[in-house]
């Protein structure tokens, strides 16, 4: 099924097709790896919206990428509970292991590393999301194996 038809299928679930904007943007991001200008044009055409509208929506949410990101996304929660339990040491470990600062992508374009706000795993700190899959109770010493796993994937 081509993108437009797939989006229209999704839109059918809702009383108003506009509701499909978020799912459609997620779908476009899966296809492109991020959301380049053309992705907004595709979503806009499929839903009868404007590219400007679609970008306005996407730029509001943290999970849409408005610029290219690595093959994999590694996110460390640094909100209160994780922070109180040593999240920064985990961040440091990733930075030295990956050789990038939080918010950057490795030179080989393999991994984008960033810190994020509360992931809803405060009881199991530190929470690290690898491509949106949580790993909990992460300690600095676990970082090398995580990176190895990600690179391997």
């Amino acid at each position: 099924m081509n993108f437009a038809d797939e989006v229209r299928e999704i839109a059918k679930q809702y009383p108003d097709a506009r509701s499909a904007t978020l799912p459609a943007l997620r779908l476009a991001q899966e296809r492109h790896g991020w959301l380049p200008p053309d992705a907004f044009r595709e979503v806009a055409d499929a839903l009868g919206l404007t590219p400007a509208y679609c970008k306005a929506v996407a730029s509001f949410y943290d999970m849409y990428h408005l610029e290219p990101v690595g093959e994999h996304l590694v996110e460390v929660c640094t909100n209160l509970s994780c922070a109180l339990s040593g999240a920064q040491k985990v961040v440091d470990a990733f930075e030295s292991e990956l050789g990038v600062r939080a918010g950057e992508t490795t030179d080989d374009g393999d991994i984008t590393f960033r810190t994020v706000e509360c992931l809803g795993g405060c009881g199991y700190p530190t929470v690290v999301a690898v491509d949106n899959r949580y790993r909990q109770f992460v300690k600095p010493e676990d970082v090398p194996s995580i990176v190895e796993m990600v690179r391997g994937a």
Binding site: L22, P23, V57, L84, A87, Q88, E117
Partner: protein
């Protein structure tokens, strides 16, 4: 009678209560729910049954039930466990509540980060649909995309409509004009998941549990500096001390308790001498704080309260939706002031200014996010003012690098996903 686990207990016969509910008229069911006096677990503590009674069922428009599964309050992770372990309990509650308000469409708005939980929940919805229990009701799981504000009920509705998730002015309230401007009931996951128990026990029995003003149980998420952080389902009214010391095992590494933020990071903190408070809405309100998301963040003596305030405020600045002036501009200004204080460049007058900026946000923003940014910080200044002052006198952080939050990097410090103009405070 005493109620043990309800939400986290092993499931009995699935959907047993749905038939019972559907055998009742919507009015009778709403009366039952009102009698149970189940108070909303999402934060505001508004009685769930009363909310249902406010639904404009006379309206020609369709009615909607929306479940708030956005759970983004720092410190909160209870909804996640309920959905991951007992999704059918939530779906059962949905079907019952939908019958009460005569809704045919149910939307569960789950935060985008909960990918694994979404997969479990979606599978459960499909299984349930396959059994035919839905009848003419449809359940749709909608994924958010990373915005704390979408937990605010009207912002959630805008997001669900495919817009930027920004709060709407109230009135009109959702029961009158909600999703697609139609009458809409919005409840938290735990609120809805508790509904089957009300039918099982009967409102009268249920109302006898917990404490009179807040019946039932709640899942308390406890995290931070405790030996065994996690979720504990307890009857409302359980003393906070019991939760912290008996269930969560107290403070680790021989440290001492410094502060407890009882409802998620958005509420005023309590001091160690206040932790005998019973965990229910009214008791906490009497101490000037909130039950909130029943999520306790425990802080030990290693933590610098200025750093705590700064990290907390950076979160609210980052999550401010940008619609209303006081929250958008005020949170950023607070961060700038806190950074100045933490850096040791501040005068005593800057602390007064910080307090004043907070006062000027309080009660003036479009939704409560502005308040959420201020409540905790104001309480830190109130109870730990000497620590703020010490930063001025000492010309820097008195912890000299030993604070548990030292150097913590917030997303707003290092950012890529909003390349256009992420504003460094």
């Amino acid at each position: 009678m005493a109620l043990k686990e309800v939400l986290l207990a092993p499931e009995g016969e699935r959907y047993a209560q749905v038939a019972k509910a559907r055998a009742m008229t919507p009015d009778a069911l709403i009366a039952e729910l009102q009698a149970a006096n189940l108070r909303g677990r999402g934060g505001a503590g508004f009685p769930m049954g009363r909310k249902a009674s406010l639904i404009d069922r006379g309206s020609a428009k369709p009615k909607y039930l929306v479940v708030n599964a956005d759970e983004s309050e720092p410190g909160a992770f209870k909804d996640r466990q309920v959905m991951a372990e007992h999704p059918h309990r939530l779906i059962e509650g949905c079907l019952i509540a939908a019958h009460a308000i005569e809704a045919k469409d149910i939307f569960i708005y789950i935060r985008g980060e909960y990918l694994a939980v979404y997969e479990i929940l979606q599978a459960a919805v499909d299984d349930a649909r396959a059994t035919g229990i839905f009848g003419d009701v449809e359940v749709t799981v909608y994924r958010g995309a990373g915005a704390y504000i979408c937990g605010e009920e009207t912002a959630l509705l805008d997001s669900l409509e495919g817009r930027r998730g920004q709060p709407r002015p109230r009135p009109p309230f959702p029961p009158v004009q909600g999703l697609y401007n139609a009458p809409t009931q919005i409840n938290n996951v735990c609120t809805i998941a508790t509904v089957p128990t009300i039918l099982e026990l009967g409102a009268e029995e249920f109302a006898k549990t917990g404490v009179e003003s807040s019946p039932g149980t709640a899942i308390f998420s406890i995290s931070g500096n405790v030996v065994s952080p996690g979720n504990y389902e307890l009857e409302l009214g359980t003393p906070m001390r019991e939760l912290i010391y008996d269930h969560a095992g107290g403070i680790p590494d021989g440290r001492t308790l410094k502060a407890v933020i009882p409802g998620g990071s958005s509420v005023p903190a309590l001091t160690p001498d206040q932790i005998d408070v019973p965990l229910d809405y009214d008791s906490l309100a009497q101490l000037g704080t909130f039950f909130g998301a029943a999520s306790l963040i425990v802080v030990d003596d290693r933590c610098c309260m200025v750093q705590l305030a700064l990290r907390s405020t950076k979160f609210y600045m980052h999550e401010s939706c940008g619609k209303c002036t006081p929250c958008r501009e005020g949170t950023r200004w607070m961060v700038q002031l806190l950074e100045k204080i933490e850096a040791g460049d501040a005068e005593h007058s800057d602390i007064d200014l910080l307090r004043s900026v907070g006062d000027r946000i309080l009660g003036k923003s479009l939704c409560a996010l502005g308040d959420f940014a201020v409540y905790p910080v104001a309480s830190y200044i109130k109870h730990w003012g000497d620590e703020f002052a010490a930063h001025v006198e000492h010309g820097g952080c008195p912890f000299e690098g030993s604070s548990s939050l030292e150097g913590i990097v917030a997303p707003s410090d290092a950012h890529t996903h909003h390349p256009v103009a992420e504003v460094p405070a």
